[in-house]
Symmetry: C2
Subunit: 252 residues, 2 copies
Amino acid sequence: MAALPTNLVIIGTGRVAEALIRFLSTRKGLNICVIGRNSARLKEIQLKYNVVISENLNDSAVEWAIVAISDDALKDVISKVKAKWISLTAGTADWRLYGENCSILYPLQSFSANADIQLENIPFIIDGDTSSISNLEKWTDLLSLKAQQFDLEKREKLHVVAVFLNNFVHHIMAKGIDLAKNYEINPEIFEALISETFNRFDMENPYSQQTGPAERKDEVTLEKHRKYLLDGNLSLYNMLSMSIKAIKDAEL
Amino acid sequence: MAALPTNLVIIGTGRVAEALIRFLSTRKGLNICVIGRNSARLKEIQLKYNVVISENLNDSAVEWAIVAISDDALKDVISKVKAKWISLTAGTADWRLYGENCSILYPLQSFSANADIQLENIPFIIDGDTSSISNLEKWTDLLSLKAQQFDLEKREKLHVVAVFLNNFVHHIMAKGIDLAKNYEINPEIFEALISETFNRFDMENPYSQQTGPAERKDEVTLEKHRKYLLDGNLSLYNMLSMSIKAIKDAEL
């Protein structure tokens, strides 16, 4: 019967690394070593969690290392990792470039500095050669994490969708709140509207609940709005209104 | 001591009208008549709520009428309403065009067909001449609704922000889910990401939690994503990425 490796190394001290450390450090019988270059962050992590810390990649000579560092640092670091199995948290990385013992363990979530995200609720995407996938399936199962396999192309596509649903939505909301402040409107007034925007979104029929002047092709209101918008905000307004109208046209 | 009018007319049978009817029809001592042109909808409403119905605008000869109809029908209908005080739910309407007894009672929310929105939690924007505002302040207070006064320009600006936070955010989410379906990815996988996008949005510092390749100016990933996007989706991707980069530049 397969077991979880007793000794696990986590390489990195960023948001994804910390989410993994928070989750794994409460697990009985699991010895975790966190390896990073930032001494101050390492000491912070040592104070918060039940882990040992190291600045030396030689300490990665264990069965399983999870590498949670920025994409551009990957190539340089992975060649120095001495673990038997190496998993990368980078969603769009090509594990084939880094050798057969490399695999992907990508949590589909956007991690902020302070949010206490429950990893049990997040989909983990795994990829790698047959034996890596077999290991990752066993280990995520033992850790009560939900894993499913996606190849490189599907992971890249997943990433594009995530950019729309997280980065772009965040940006549009930020633009809205920024405009409110410029207009001297207290942003708190929009709290119920923001909640409703999310609560009623229909994953099955995503366009079905679209409302607003662009959806109604109400040119009078669209023109009224434009007089309060400048430059980049006006371009965004026009492009998004056009995009909403195009969906409406396609439905007719 | 001022009291709520005993007889109230609601003109319209759409989503906003129904939300008002649902809320007001449970109020003791308040007789509600719903006036509309759509007999089928009127009968539906009569079956669901404790109200009388009518197709005749002459039945609006009461103290207070709330007109909840589409903007383009306003002009034609209002001239026929016989109530002493007339309130319009249209956010960007100019009450001055419709006479001194006309005022604005605009719920800042997007109403869908099935959602059971709690009006007590929604900001109501009021506007009108001094005596209308005085009435609306008393009546909303008696009804436990939260009201604040905004003049026409401020209501128009409020509406622009609402378009960003509701219509545009909805559209970007719909685009994301549509792409997922085209890529043969089950949209359910994005549920935790969508929740987190909203949960961690910071109204105080709206751009502070922005993440993603555009925020990092990671041109390699941006280029990788573009190969999966066509036409309108590619234009949206480029414009939103540019807009995110422009905010980043302004912060430096």
